[in-house]
Structure formats: C-alpha cells, structure tokens
C-alpha cells in the first residue's frame, strides 16, 4: 500500500515548509520565459519602468525582461496542488511547473478545475490494483488524491443518483499520451465496481452471465486494438481511430451491455506506412501467428513479399506478434465470434495485402494498363470469392454508364493502381466497421435499452502539423466542438456555483467563444462553411482542389477566424484560427478524400461474391461514389452524377452527421474531462519536455480553461479556512467570542481594505480574483515573520532567564558547600565530635525517633483503612435504607393487590349465584315450554279426530237425507 500511496499522495511536505515560504516571500520569485525549460524561476531584483531585472535562481544570471513577460510564482503553499484551479497565480508557467513537480514525484494525475490531466508515466505504476479500486469506491472526488478512478466513480455515482443522467468521460490528447490506456482503466473500474455489486447481491445464476459480459467488455479492447492500432514513431500501440464506448447500466447500476462507435479510422495506413511505422497490428499478428493450415487457406506469404507493408517486418520491443495472434483469437472466442466469421475477417485482411501485390504496366502503344502477372489477382479473387476474369476486367476496363448506355472504358496504369488502393482501403474499413458492429452485437446482451449509460470518448486531440490536410481538419473540428462543450459545461457549473453562493456576477457563455470557428467549418449556408463548400465543389464539373480553395477564400475570406496565407507562394492554402492556435491547411486531394471514390464494378462484384462474409461486407454498394464519376468530372459528364445525387454521401457529410449525433448525446450528459499528455517523444519515463507539454496544454484546452477561470473569481476559500489562515492579518477585526463564519470574514475583508472588485462573499466561501491570495499570502508571511521574531526574542529571554536562575542557584549552592566544608574541616580532627558521631546511632533517642516514624506510618495506614471502612458502612447503610423503602413500597402494593383480589372474588361469587338463579329460571321455562308443546300436540290429535268425525257424520246425514 505504501508504495501505491507514494504515487497517489506524493510528498507534499514542501507545502508547509516555512523555509520555502519565507524564501518565496523575501525573494519575490517569478517565472521568466526560457528557451530551454519553458520557464525558469528567478527573483525580481529591480524594476525599471516597463522592464525588470530578474536574477535567475539556477544560474544566478541577471536578465532584463519586459514586465508583461514575467509570470508570478505561486506561494509554496500551492506546491504540487492536486487541483490547479486552486492556484492563486493562474498562468502557464505555474501550471507547467505544478505538473512537472508532480510528474517528477510520480504523481501523474492532476486536476485542473473540471479537467483531470494525466501525464503518461511510461512505466508501470502500482495504482491500478483492486485494492486501489476499493479505495476509490464511493468516495467523493476531493476526498481522494487525483485518479482516473475518482473521475470514473464520480461519473458512476452521478449516473446512479439520477436515473436518466448520462455521463461521459472525454479523453483527448496527442498520440501516445495514454488516452486508450486510461479508457481501459475506466472500463476496468466500471467492470469491477458494477459487477462486484452484483456478486454480493445475488450470487445466483445471473452472476455468472454478467461476469461474462464484463469479460467480453474487457476483451473488446484487444480485438479493436489488433485491428485498429498500429505502431507509430510516437507510440508503439497507437489507436488509429477514435471511439465512443457506451456502457449501459440498468436501474440498479449493473452493466447490462455496451456499444462502441468508431470515428475516423486511418485507413490509408493499410496500404502505406511512414518510415519505422507499422501497418495495423493484425497484419503482423496474422503473418507471424497463423498455423500452416491457416497459412495455406489464407494464401499467406512472407513479410517481404507484401508491397503494402512498406517497412517489412517491424517488430515491437517486448511484444510477440505470434502470441498476440493467439490472444486475439482467444478474445474472439470470448466474444463468441464463430470460427467462420474469424476466417472471413482474416481472408479480407489477407486480401487487402494481396491487393497491394497487383502490378500494372502501361501498354506499349496506348495509355491502357495491363496486368502481366495475375497471381495476386487470383489470390484476391480466391480469398474474396469472386471470379478472376471478372475482377481483372473490372479493374482494367470497367463498364461505365454513359448517358443510358454502358461502355467499357480502359483504365490507365495510374487509374488502375488508384482503384486497387482505394479498394484495399475500403475493404479494410468495411471489415473494421463490420467488426465493430459484430462486437456490439456480442456486447448487447439484453435487447432492452439500459436505464442510463456512461459514455467514454477516446479520441485524438488537436493536431497541428506544418501542413495539415483533410484528416486534421476533421479532428480539429471535433476538438473545437468538444472544447465548446467543455466551455459550456464549465460556464454552467460556474454559474451554478455563483448562484448557489448568491454572488452577483454575470458570465458570458464561453461556449460562444468558439462558435465563429465552428461556423466557419460546418455552417450550411450564408455563407457556407468549409465542409459545405467542399461538398458543393464535389458536385461541380471540372472542380479541382484549387477551385475549391478559391471558392473558400471568396466566401469566407473576411471571416475573423479565417486567414489567407501571408505569402503568395506559401505552401499552405489557407489558415484557420482554432482556439488552440493558427493551423495551416493544404487542400491537396481534398475533393478526392471527401468523395472517397471506388471502382463501382468491383464493388458490385464483391457484392455478389460467393463468399458470404464478403458479400455481407459489400451489402450497400449503391452508396459508393463511382470512380468514373471522379474521372468523369473532367469530361463534364455530370449528367449521370446528378441523377445519383442523394444516393451517396461525402466523407465530410457523414462525419459531420456522426459528430452531430455524438455531440447531441454528449450535450445531454454530465461530462467529465480527462486530458492525456505525452511528456516526451522518446517513450522515456521521468522526462518531461516543457515545450511539448505546453503545446499540449494549449491544444487540449487546459490553458483555455484557465483563461476562462481568470475572468471570474477562480480562488475560493471556505470561511473557516480563510479565517484560520488570514486572521493574523487583521488582529483586531474580529471581536472575541463566537462569531459566525461569514460575518467574521466580512469584518476581516473590511479590515484588509481590498478593492471590492477583487472579491465576492458568498454563502459559504469567499471568492477572489486570481492573484489576490498571493498578495494576502505575502502579507501574511511578513506578519508571521514579525511575530516569530518577537516570539523568538521572548524564547531567548526565557532561556536566558532560566540559565541565569540556574547560575544563581549554583552560586548559592557553592556558598552552602563552602560553609559545610569549612565546618567539616573544623570538626574533622575534634575528638569529641568523632566520639559523638560514633555513639549517636547507638543511642535510644535516635532509635526512638525511627520507631516513632514507623508508628506514625502505621497510624496513618490504620486511619486510612478506618476511613475506608466508615465510608463503606455509610454506603451500606444508605443502601439498606433504600432497600427498606423499596420493601415497604412493595408491601403496600401487595396489600392493594390483595384487596383488589378479594373484591374481584366477591364479585365472582355474586355473579355465580346470579347465574345459578338464572339457570334455574331457564330450566323452569324450558320445562314449561315442553309442557306447552305437549299440550299443543294433544290438542291437534283430538281436532283431526273431531273433524273426521264431523265429516263422517255429515255424509251419514246426507245419506240419510
């Protein structure tokens, strides 16, 4: 644990080191820009109007510097702060310094307001164990040192609290900064937290299947990495695509599924790589790891045989491609992707490689291309399940629709090569998309939508190269949008805080700051933005990249965020002023990139492939921009073009739409931002290049965030702390006794005589403008030093008096000793005295004394015992009295009870007699009733007898009559 603690808490002893504090106060330390270190510490020696003389701390050199270039240094109290928003001097130098100090101490995570900044440590840190996860579980952000887990937990909790709440973790940064690693950590954390819940709650059968889902979720990464990552100069395992992972949770906070969306796969890597870089991992995994059977099935060849692997077999140190292959295959198994689909995927991968080996030649008398050797074509056809002849024909002389008829049009060598490359790229991309789709299917266990989700966006950060192309425009546009989201979130949160604290301050929505630039890129019309213009240009016949640039300049030339290149013969075509800085764009091949054309004939062939997998990949052929369209542009064949309008979409359009959806999702979430920073380009641990980091801070919006912070009151201190720390500055402002925190602070601030514009007093905190605290801190330091000196003077006095008193005592002791010695010397030889000393112990008197003492002691003891006994007696007596009283009470109670009982008994007797009487009466009545009934019975019989008699008498009478 202690090891991990070192990487979490670090050593912040410097914070309260009074020495450093005193140093800071006395020297007026500042940051001075430096070529080598970014910023160097120095102390102001002299001020000469606009300029200052600064002595550099390290070298001792004195430099003259313009005042505006100097950045204030924070008091040592703020050394290695966990949240840089707390810094009172918020400037680039301080942010860089803080990050650096923390990084050197092994602390890679740092908060910067809403951001969590993480610097790639380039080594293993023991801060990702289960123990640590448990440490962070359920903790609030400020309770624990900065960590990606803290951010994740916050996201998870806020999602749990509000069922419809959605959270997103956005990480962005340069390649190799650790985006993907941190994304993995987030997933690891969620998989652990959200499933450990479950195993506790219901350990029944469901637990197992859920565990499987989490396993699959974690396994999705190696698969995606195998197909979407590659080794680049900067990063051995660089993600060549952006992704948005959505982890769905049910109402109880259990993971119920996940969904991955990918953005901007760098598909050109499949056909060409820069020096020392690799293509996608899977190519190498497959070539190294496939067994003999698989090799022949996939028609694999040696590394050197493939033209698309520009650099042959480049290996990654510390990684065995062969092992990785089996790992990937295992991952497929866990994802329950069946064998035939796996083979299908690998076939496409192999086919992509084979496509590169198709070579074309120019025929001698015409421009037409021919293919002297069709081995590669055969292999491709075999792998993709299409007919070789059809395939070759489709490449060399595809059928093109002219008007209403189809004609075969022979292709030049360049055209054929382009078509093959486009095909390879498209195949790889489609295969990748299919893979993502397949993973999503595997991860989406329950068909129902989860109650809420946590989204994790892992996307490249801002890119500024010397010359930037369409891809950079897309990624920068994305980042511009994300930054806008961040600014907006920050604005909302700030406003909430100010409202909560009842502070009167109206912010401007910082989100709007970025709107002009976004408009410049994406606006539909009036005037149309760059992407729209590009799309428009794609529809025009005879349009070229140049005409596109002209159009952009014409439409957007006056846009404040747009700039024409300064020099006429500049390499760049135009510049856009992004929030991160000015970016030069070169519009080479933008039309082509935007349309991404494909050979339609081949696509149709593939669509009808006998290989089920391939056919599936090419299901939607009709959305493709045909090669002929592009070629046709120069031949003014736009008639055919128009008829197809609406059928297909340009890359820009698709991306804009995808991004739009993403932003809509994110806007409804409660975003958390993680910014990854690459410390150096050498993949070396413990090294931090200041300029590189500064550039990234600028690009990823950390500095932008700080700029916004500075507009408000970035430093907040709760009343209690403010009072504790600065009360010393206002000794008599607060009256004695208890005082409400707010009131006390009001009094203190009044006594400090601050400009009202420098502070606001809220409900629980005091708000300060940037830098005010540094000033207070300085004053406090001076004051403390004063008091300390006085106190030290007193201490010295105290010590001196003590020493003096001791000396006085010594003097006295000396005198006593002298006197005694003198007496001794006198007595030493006096015989009578000697006799006396000898006899004295034998004397009764002396012994009596001893006995007396002994008796006295005994007496004392007996007395004590006696006293104790008395006390005890007293106690017992009182106890007895108590008990007696209790007994009496009980007796009384008993008496009362007995009386009550007697009464009740009497009552019972009465009632019994009454009952007896009544029973007798009842008896009588029953007897009477019986009697009566008998009598009734008797009466009946005579009656019937009588009536019969009467009847008989009558008839007899009648007979008589």
């Amino acid at each position: 644990m202690s090891d991990a603690d070192k990487y979490l808490y670090g050593d912040r002893s410097g914070m309260s080191n009074p020495l450093a504090q005193a140093d800071w106060a006395s020297k007026k330390q500042v940051w001075v820009p430096s070529e080598r270190l970014g910023f160097e510490a120095g102390s102001v020696k002299e001020e000469l109007g606009e300029e200052c003389v600064v002595e550099l701390s390290d070298s001792g050199k004195k430099v003259k510097i313009n005042k505006d270039d100097i950045q204030k240094m924070n008091p040592p109290k703020f050394n290695k702060v966990e949240d840089m928003a707390e810094l009172t001097c918020l400037n680039e130098a301080s942010v860089l310094h803080n990050l650096k100090e923390r990084y050197y101490s092994g602390l890679i995570y740092t908060y910067s307001g809403l951001f969590c900044v993480v610097v790639n440590p380039y080594k293993f840190l023991p801060i990702y164990s289960e123990e640590i996860i448990n440490m962070y579980k359920g903790k609030k952000r400020h309770e624990m040192p900065p960590h990606i887990y803290a951010i994740t937990d916050t996201a998870y909790r806020s999602m749990m609290q509000d069922v419809c709440f959605l959270c997103a973790n956005l990480s962005s940064g340069e390649s190799g900064a650790g985006k993907t690693e941190n994304t993995k950590k987030v997933i690891q954390y969620l998989a652990y937290v959200a499933s450990s819940f479950k195993s506790k709650k219901d350990q029944g059968s469901t637990a197992l299947s859920h565990g499987e889902l989490e396993k699959q979720l974690l396994q999705a990464n190696p698969i995606l990495e195998a197909f979407g990552n590659a080794k680049t100069v900067k990063n051995d395992n660089s993600s060549r695509f952006g992704k948005f992972i959505r982890i769905n949770f049910d109402v109880n906070g259990y993971i119920v599924g996940a969904n991955i969306e990918t953005y901007l796969l760098e598909k050109s890597r499949a056909i060409r790589q820069a020096k020392e870089e690799r293509s996608f991992h899977i190519f190498y995994y497959m070539l190294s790891g496939a067994g003999d059977k698989l090799r022949s099935e996939l028609c694999l060849e040696d590394y050197s045989k493939y033209r698309f692997l520009s650099n042959g077999n480049v290996t990654i140190p510390g990684q065995q491609d062969k092992d990785m292959f089996s790992e990937t295959m295992e991952a497929f198994q866990i994802m329950s992707i069946p064998e035939e689909e796996r083979i299908g995927l690998l076939k496409v991968v192999s086919a992509v490689l084979q496509l590169g080996n198709m070579t074309f030649k120019k025929e001698r008398h015409s421009d037409q291309a021919s293919m002297p050797d069709d081995t590669a074509a055969q292999k491709v056809s075999h792998l993709l399940g299409i007919n070789v002849t059809d395939f070759t024909r489709a490449i060399l002389s595809p059928r093109i629709k002219v008007g209403r008829d189809y004609v075969q049009k022979a292709q030049t060598q360049e055209q054929a090569e382009f078509a093959v490359e486009a095909l390879a790229k498209a195949s790889y991309e489609r295969m990748f998309r299919w893979l993502v789709m397949r993973i999503n299917k595997a991860l989406d266990k329950t068909k129902r939508q989860g109650a809420s989700f946590i989204g994790i966006l892992d996307i490249a950060g801002f890119e500024i190269f010397e010359l930037n192309s369409f891809e950079q425009l897309c990624i920068n546009y994305t980042n511009e949008k994300l930054q806008q989201l961040f600014n907006h979130t920050m604005f909302i949160l700030e406003q909430e805080e100010y409202q909560r604290e009842g502070i009167d301050w109206s912010f401007i929505d910082f989100g709007l700051d970025l709107q002009p630039c976004i408009d410049l890129i994406e606006k539909h019309s009036g005037p149309p933005g760059i992407l729209s213009l590009l799309d428009e240009e794609c529809w025009f016949p005879k349009a070229t990249d140049k005409s596109f640039v002209e159009k952009v300049v014409q439409e957007q030339g006056t846009h404040p965020k747009f700039q024409k290149p300064k020099k006429l013969k500049d390499d760049a075509d135009f510049c856009i002023i992004h929030y991160a800085g000015k970016v030069d764009y070169k519009a080479d091949a933008w039309l082509m990139k935007n349309m991404d054309p494909l050979n339609e004939c081949v696509a149709t062939l593939l669509n009808q492939s006998t290989d089920k997998f391939t056919a599936d990949l090419w299901r939607d052929v009709d959305r493709i921009v045909g090669l002929d369209k592009v070629a046709g542009m120069s031949d003014s064949m736009h008639g055919a073009f128009k008829s197809r309008k609406g059928m297909f979409r340009t890359v820009g359009q698709l991306y804009k739409e995808q991004l739009g959806n993403l932003m809509a999702t994110l806007r409804n979430t409660n975003p958390n931002f993680v910014r990854c920073i690459i410390p150096n380009h050498e993949k070396k641990a413990g090294k931090l290049e200041p300029h590189l980091v500064l550039d990234q801070l600028r690009c990823n919006g950390v500095l932008e965030g700080i700029r916004i912070c500075r507009q408000g009151f970035p430093n907040r201190i709760v009343f209690q702390e403010f009072r504790q720390r600065y009360e010393i500055l206002t000794p008599n402002a607060i009256p004695k006794g208890f005082m409400d925190g707010k009131q006390a602070c009001v009094l203190m601030i009044k006594a400090l005589e601050l400009d009202p514009n420098l502070y606001r007093i809220g409900q629980s905190k005091v708000f300060f403008r940037a830098g005010v605290l540094a000033h207070l801190e300085e004053e406090r330091d001076m004051k403390i030093t004063d008091v300390i000196i006085c106190f030290q003077a007193w201490c010295r006095g105290y010590v001196a008096r003590k020493a003096f008193a001791k000396r006085q005592q010594q003097l006295m002791a000396m005198k006593v000793i002298q006197r005694n010695l003198a007496a001794y010397l006198k007595l030493r030889n006096w015989q009578w005295w000697r006799l006396f000393t000898k006899v004295k112990p034998l004397l009764q008197v002396t012994r009596q004394e001893e006995e007396m003492v002994a008796k006295d002691e005994e007496l004392q003891k007996v007395k004590e015992r006696q006293l104790q006994a008395e006390e005890q007696l007293q106690q017992y007596e009182t106890k007895q009295q108590q008990l007696n009283a209790e007994k009496l009470a009980l007796q009384e109670q008993l008496q009362a009870e007995t009386e009550l009982c007697a009464e009740a008994e009497e009552m019972r007797a009465r009632l019994a007699s009454k009952k007896q009487e009544l029973e007798e009466i009842l008896h009588d009545f029953e007897a009477r009733l019986e009697e009566e009934e008998d009598r009734v019975g008797q009466l009946h019989i005579p009656t019937s007898g009588a009536s019969g008699q009467i009847w008989r008498e009558r008839t007899a009478e009648a007979g008589d009559g």
Binding site: P18, L19, A22, Q724, R725, E727, I728, P731, I784, T785, V787, I788, I789, C790, F791, Q792, A793, W794, C795, R796, G797, Y798, V799, A800, R801, K802, A803, F804, A805, K806, R807, Q808, Q809, L811, M812
Partner: protein, 205 residues
C-alpha cells in the same frame, strides 16, 4: 520539579519591573525579587532604584568570566534577558552599533557602560503581547485545538526569523511537550500546571 520552580520565581517577579520602567517611574516591585541576596546599597543611577541597580550589578557580575568587571558584547543580550527584557537580536545589534562577529566576541563593556543600554531596551520594550504570540502560534496549529506539534515548533523556530540554535531550542522545549508531542500554547491549562508553555507566556507578559 523543585529546581524548576525556583528559577521561575525571579522571572515572574522581574517582569513587572520591565513594564513600569517603560513609564519611567521607578518601580517598587523589584524589591521582593532580590530577597535571595543580601541588599547592599551603593552606586545609584538616575533612572533605576538602588535595589534594581544592585540586582543588575549582581547579574552583571555573574556574566563576567574574566574578572575585569566587564562583559563581552555577545553577552549583553543575555544579561538583558536575564534581567527580564525580551530584546530581539536586531534591537541589540542596533544598540551596539552593528558590531562584527569578532567585535561581538572580543569587545567588552563595563557595568556603567551597560546601564544606558539596558535603559534603552527597557524604554522601548517588545510590543508584541500574549495575543500576538497566540495568533502567531495558531498559524502552526494544524488541528486548531490550541496545541502545536513540538517538532513543528522546533522547525519554525530554527528556520524562520532570528533562528534559534539547537541548544536554545532544547532548553526552551524541555518539559513542554505532552505525551503526544504537542505543546499547549493557548489560554488556561486544565490542571494549572505551571510548567506549560501557555502559563510561561502569560507569566511573561
């Protein structure tokens, strides 16, 4: 404990001498202070009572290690302190005309020369009061419960301002820390233990 109590007595008594002296009226208070020593009236300086003078001379004599009835410059501050003053090193340095380290060790002054110095210090006493010290110490009170860590205080006193040396700090801190290594600096102590820091502070002011 016994040897501790005794020295405290003169300190306590000596203190009031400082305050009234500030207002130049001669103080009757010091009379009981020197009762440990026989009173012998001799030379009288205008602003001190005879009692005080005798006291001072006695103390002065104690510091004379050579026997020439003089003390070295670097002892002056300590004598003043022994006599109940709390001058800062800066104050004393100013008084002596900012001597060099060598001068501090070698230059010597007579009792007659010393008296006006003492008078000066007494006339401008250290203005900080108990409250100020408590405020100052509160800064280092991490828990906010009226105590500071002994180790922390050691560091503060040995690194800030007019730094105290190890020996001085040891002498100062002897017996001040409680079982947790904390020092109570604030207000009344629960058991009225005379040896607490706070009571020393109170006593001194």
């Amino acid at each position: 404990m016994a040897p501790k109590k005794d020295p405290r007595a003169p300190i306590k008594k000596a203190e009031p001498a400082a305050a009234p002296a500030a207002a130049p009226a001669p103080a009757p208070a010091p009379a009981p202070a020197p009762k440990a020593r026989p009173v012998d009236l001799s030379a009288v300086k205008v602003e001190f009572t005879a009692d005080q003078m005798e006291d001072y001379r006695e103390a002065f004599g104690l510091f004379d290690r050579v026997g020439d009835n003089k003390v070295a410059y670097n002892q002056i501050a300590d004598i003043m302190r022994a006599l109940g003053q709390n001058p800062t090193n800066k104050d004393v340095n100013k008084l002596l005309g900012s001597p060099s380290a060598e001068e501090m060790a070698n230059k010597r002054v007579t009792f007659e020369g010393f008296l006006p110095m003492l008078q000066t210090i007494i006339n401008s006493p250290n203005k900080a009061g108990y409250e100020d010290y408590v405020e100052g110490l509160r800064v280092f009170d991490k828990e906010g419960n009226g105590t500071v860590m002994g180790t922390e205080l050691r560091i503060v006193l040995s690194t800030l301002g007019e730094k105290l040396n190890e020996a001085e700090i040891d002498a100062l801190m002897a017996g001040q820390e409680d079982e947790n290594g904390c020092i109570n600096y604030e207000g009344e102590t629960s058991d009225r233990d005379v040896s607490t820091f706070a009571s020393c502070l109170v006593a001194c002011i």
